[in-house]
Symmetry: C2
Subunit: 374 residues, 2 copies
């Protein structure tokens, strides 16, 4: 079982490992300089051209094409310098044991180069891709570089965790829940004791509130999370761990629209833009429990809950049809059902029947009948 | 001290009181019908024409102008019916002891009127103002009608609370914190034990993270909250209570821009659109601890942290100059300083000096020197 000391030790060891990777990169560059070579960094290409969907792992994976970022190259010199500037700032963070936001990192590394009017960075849109370069170049998640984007979301359930040394009983978190932090790596969050039998990720805050107020998670023994929309990296890491280590099924409860499908697909197999992290962020066994077009008939919903598809919904749905991870028959049918019906529905539509219909009927019935999509 | 039972009792009593208000409204309407009068509801007008800034209370207050919403009036009949439909749904919620989102309420009350093609509501933009009418008409906050908007924000500090029967020690919440719920009325959240000496509300999630990681709240004995932008109603009620009951000072740490000023001003004296709730939501003693234009010199910040004011920043700042609650000399100077300087700054700008500068220098120094604005 985790103690404050063992977590701190794990934290220090992980930091040491990441520091080692940064130092190796720097040493290699120094060697190139001493050899009077043109110093260069090899970075895997993060673009659609180097991304593929692995049928075997059911993951969006990065291929092995690389680019070289060279110092003696007018078009690359600035980015070369920026890469080491960000790496240096991450080294400082790791050494001090502190973590910070990607916005903060931008301020930490922004300065005017001595003797010139040139800034190291003018905008955060310049520093963010450099962080991604480093993540993939060093094979270290952003969180391991002690960086994070904003946190979002809440969690409750029959589980005791240790977060930064504090033992927290997620079954005694009242109406608010535990606020999911930005960094949920195993050296920050330790699962101490769990009676959870599955994970339920809910798109909507309000639906999470309904399920929490109805104590759904107590009756059905599940971890209940929401991110209010797209799942954050913190939440994805948090889901991924019980899913792989404790072999818990993960259900994703989203609206019946292309955006709900997208939220599910990112949780399941990662995204194109962040393909390099799929291996450690994705839950290939996640199950889509969201509202389906045919649920309109199954649950005898009334016409008033239908919302006309907008032009952008139709465009997005057609894109989804073309993604290899939605190539399977059940998905093609589902997406075509939506396009043909011409409407979408929110999960809240179920409240038109009864406020606790989602808790008492919809979810238990879907799970019992195995009426999910994968 | 609160127990699960005493909270449940308080909850039931509050619900009974609100139910009584709804029933009195209905009874009065029935009496009008029996007298063969034109049934009508008297509702205070929620518009700028009926809003004034009270110098005495330092609050934006609603005046006493009322409008009558009549049944036998073509332009009012639908709204009259909608008002009772929403009141009826709130009655159901109160009786069942459940709470729900304003989105959900829309679905609960949306249906097609029998025999007609007319819907009770076509869009949530119709049902939201009806909720506000009821709040002001019944003198019951939305939360007392068991309704809420989305929750947002996290909290930590040297305090033990009881949330829906669960005792939660806010000093042992790890890196994530307690997720601030939508409804934080005293029958949901009870303050059990507190060593807090002040409240610190932080605009930015990342700054909250910095202060939490540095355990600022432990050293300085404060409640540390963030909402990631504008404070939610739940957070405002949560701040307002220690501020008035425990007489704790409230500091608001925001960016140096007109939007930071606005966040502060809503916490302090309420907003025009929701003037009817100011009395119970506002903290007239809140202190602005946000970055000021002159801090650029005081803290010897470097030019790179300056961000040029945009056209909309300038327009907004000029609006602020005209608000009576910013009429005092110190505010006019502050806003004019910003306009003349031509730049704004984010709190994260302090990280350009040192990652923990905000924790170790900026806040303690400002509080020690009483360098805040009110």
């Amino acid at each position: 079982m985790a103690t404050k000391r063992s977590l701190a030790k794990a934290h220090a060891e992980r930091a040491k490992k990441t520091l080692g990777k940064i130092e190796a990169l720097a040493q290699e560059t120094i060697r190139q300089v001493k050899r009077e070579d043109n110093p260069g960094l090899e970075l895997p290409i993060r673009a659609l051209s180097n991304v593929a969907f692995s049928e075997k792992h059911h993951l969006i994976e990065l291929g092995d094409k690389v680019q070289t970022r060279e110092f003696f190259n007018v078009s690359m010199a600035k980015k070369f310098m920026q890469t080491f500037l960000v790496a240096g700032a991450c080294k400082d963070l790791l050494e001090s044991g502190k973590t910070t936001s990607i916005r903060d990192l931008f301020y930490m590394t922004k300065h005017t180069i001595k003797g010139y009017k040139e800034n190291t960075f003018d905008d955060q849109v310049e520093s963010d891709p450099i962080i991604e370069d480093l993540e993939v170049g060093l094979d270290a998640l952003r969180e391991e570089l002690h960086l994070f984007a904003n946190k979002k979301g809440s969690m409750v359930g029959p589980m005791v965790i240790v977060d930064s040394g504090d033992e927290i009983d997620l079954s005694r978190m009242g109406s608010g829940g535990w606020s999911v932090p930005s960094i949920t790596e195993d050296y920050v969050i330790e699962f101490k004791k769990s009676e959870a039998e599955f994970v339920m990720l809910v798109e909507k805050e309000a639906v999470w509130h309904r399920l929490n107020e109805d104590k759904f998670w107590r009756k059905h023994k599940c971890l209940l999370l929401t991110c209010g929309g797209q799942a954050t990296r913190g939440a994805r890491r948090l889901i991924q761990r019980p899913s792989s280590a404790l072999k818990l099924p993960v259900y994703v409860l989203v609206d019946n629209d292309p955006w709900g499908l997208y939220i599910y697909s990112v949780v399941k197999q990662g995204s194109i833009s962040l393909a390099y992290e799929s291996m450690r962020m994705a839950c290939p066994k996640a199950r889509y429990l969201g509202l389906r077009t045919r649920d309109f008939k199954t649950y005898k919903l009334s016409d008033e809950v239908k919302i006309d598809l907008l032009k952008e919904d139709i465009t997005r749905a057609k894109q989804m049809l073309a993604y290899p991870w939605f190539a399977a028959k059940q998905w093609q049918e589902e997406i075509n059902d939506q396009l043909e019906s011409g409407f979408k529905m929110e999960i809240e539509a179920l409240s038109n029947k009864d406020i606790s219909f989602v808790t008492d009927v919809y979810i238990p019935q879907k799970i019992a009948k195995k009426d999910w999509l994968v």
